[in-house]
């Protein structure tokens, strides 16, 4: 149908078949068949296919650091952005993008958000990583040190003395912090 225009503009990868799918395997063994332009938003996938001449359409790329749950979230985001790009190649419909992103992230728990940051970092999707880290920043702004330890699941590895020194050095940054 109308995909001839789309495939000719994204013909940098080897195959000329339209509606090409790329197979990605998550850490828990699930294989995702992903439309090529969506998969190519994952920089790690793009460079894997660009750098390896012997990969074929049957090649399943393993992504050992990405869980199935995180992959669902990532693909939802990348598919939505591919859709925006396809509809308005010149400039993304800003309002719509913002509305989508707000709804998208509202449904994510702190745990899911962290998992997706980890995945977006590994897959090297800079746009998504910027977006997610910005969301996490909003969630920890003006929060106590204890809250942030719990948020990120981080152990306090300072000695009591080291921690007291740090708190003293930045005393001004501790006033008026939100209650946990």
């Amino acid at each position: 149908m109308s995909s001839s225009i789309a495939s000719s503009s994204s013909s940098s990868s080897s195959s000329s078949k339209k509606e090409k799918k790329i197979s990605l395997k998550t850490s828990d063994g699930e294989v995702f068949e992903v439309e090529e332009p969506v998969a190519m938003q994952l920089e790690i996938v793009r460079s894997f296919f660009a750098d390896n001449e012997d990969v074929t359409e049957q090649t399943v790329m393993p992504l050992p650091n990405v869980s199935t749950a995180a992959m669902h979230g990532i693909l939802e985001y990348c598919r939505a952005h591919e859709e925006f790009r396809r509809r308005m190649p010149e400039a993304a419909p800003e309002e719509e993008v913002r509305a989508f992103e707000a709804g998208y992230v509202d449904r994510k728990s702190n745990e899911e958000l962290k998992e997706m940051i980890l995945a977006a970092n590994y897959l090297n999707i800079s746009k998504l990583l910027d977006f997610l880290t910005g969301v996490a920043a909003k969630r920890i702004e003006n929060k106590s040190v204890e809250y942030v330890r719990a948020f990120f699941g981080v152990e306090n590895d300072f000695t009591p003395e080291e921690e007291a020194n740090l708190r003293r050095e930045y005393e001004w940054a501790f006033e008026g912090v939100d209650e946990d």
């Binding site: 940051i117 920890i140 330890r149 990120f152 699941g153 740090l166």
Partner: protein
């Protein structure tokens, strides 16, 4: 699917990416979270965002401090907060607000319009070691007291509620300011500014100033006042509320960390796309009695403490 919290620890570059979207205050506080956070909170990547190109060009133009002298971007940032620099041919003093990273200025009195300012029987220009500017204005004697300062809004940080202050000190021989209400107006040129009543005498007591770290002081007042509300000029409902409040409010001096006094002149919200100038007017033109004995350093503009 429940995840074991320990399983999902983010690497340092992700932590750095997250905290770089918070504020300098958050970043400094969060260095107490763990050694990983401390390391992220000291990385250049995090502080780059707060060292605006304007600031970097200002300090590299100052000659005395080349950028390579600073071991880290964080150190450079803290320097930008603690060591104001002179810009615009010495008319403006410029620094960054430590908590928010937003831009702060003091307009020197030399750059202000002062009624009778060039007539030596009314005003003198003197230099003081404790001043940021080479010259400050010493009031000899006037009836009409009028200081007006302007600053281009493009210099300000967007989406910020700023507060303007008059920075001054008594000579010890001051008179005429006791119980003398003075009008202070702050607003964008071409629109009607907000007016409030201020005092410059210290007789009604000083508000203590806790070495730059003081949360916005609560002004002396005879009625209810909520100091936490930012002024949003574009929203009419809020404006009405504010005006009602301001009938009951007046502002008195507080002592600054640098030994000077300051009195709040007014607040304004800068959205970021209003081109033009902000104007601050301090005037006593009703009683017109003789006033004398204060030294004025300038008009300071810094972000309102949001927390």
């Amino acid at each position: 699917m429940a995840m074991d919290a320990g399983m999902l620890s983010l690497p340092e570059d992700c932590i750095a990416a997250v905290i770089s979207f918070t504020t300098p205050r958050d970043i400094c506080r969060l260095s107490s979270v763990s050694s990983l956070f401390k390391s992220a909170a000291e990385s250049d990547v995090v502080w780059d965002r707060f060292l605006t190109p304007e600031y970097l060009s200002v300090i590299s133009g100052c000659g005395s401090s080349s950028l390579s002298m600073w071991s880290s971007k964080k150190e450079l940032y803290l320097r930008a907060c603690h060591n104001p620099v002179l810009i615009d041919e010495g008319k403006l003093s410029f620094w960054l607000d430590k908590r928010s990273g937003k831009k702060c200025y003091m307009i020197s009195t030399r750059a202000c319009k002062i009624e009778w300012g060039d007539t030596t029987i009314y005003w003198n220009w003197i230099s003081l070691p404790e001043a940021r500017f080479p010259e400050v204005a010493k009031l000899i004697d006037v009836c009409l007291f009028d200081i007006e300062g302007k600053i281009n809004t493009s210099l300000l940080s967007p989406r910020t509620t700023y507060v303007a202050y008059l920075v001054f000190k008594p000579t010890g021989e001051e008179y005429g300011f006791e119980d003398c209400p003075i009008d202070a107006t702050v607003g964008f040129v071409g629109s009607e500014g907000r007016k409030q009543t201020i005092y410059l005498d210290t007789d009604r007591g000083l508000i203590p100033w806790d070495a730059w770290e003081q949360v916005d002081h609560v002004p002396w007042h005879a009625g209810l006042f909520n100091p936490g509300e930012p002024i949003t000029p574009s929203v009419p409902e809020e404006e009405e509320e504010e005006e009602e409040e301001e009938d009951h409010v007046f502002y008195v001096p507080s002592v600054r960390g640098d030994g000077w006094l300051e009195t709040e002149l007014g607040k304004f919200f800068y959205q970021g796309h209003e081109d033009g100038e902000l104007e601050i007017i301090v005037m006593e033109n009703l009683r017109l009695h003789w006033k004398s004995g204060l030294i004025f350093q300038g008009i300071e503009i810094r972000p309102k403490r949001s927390r």
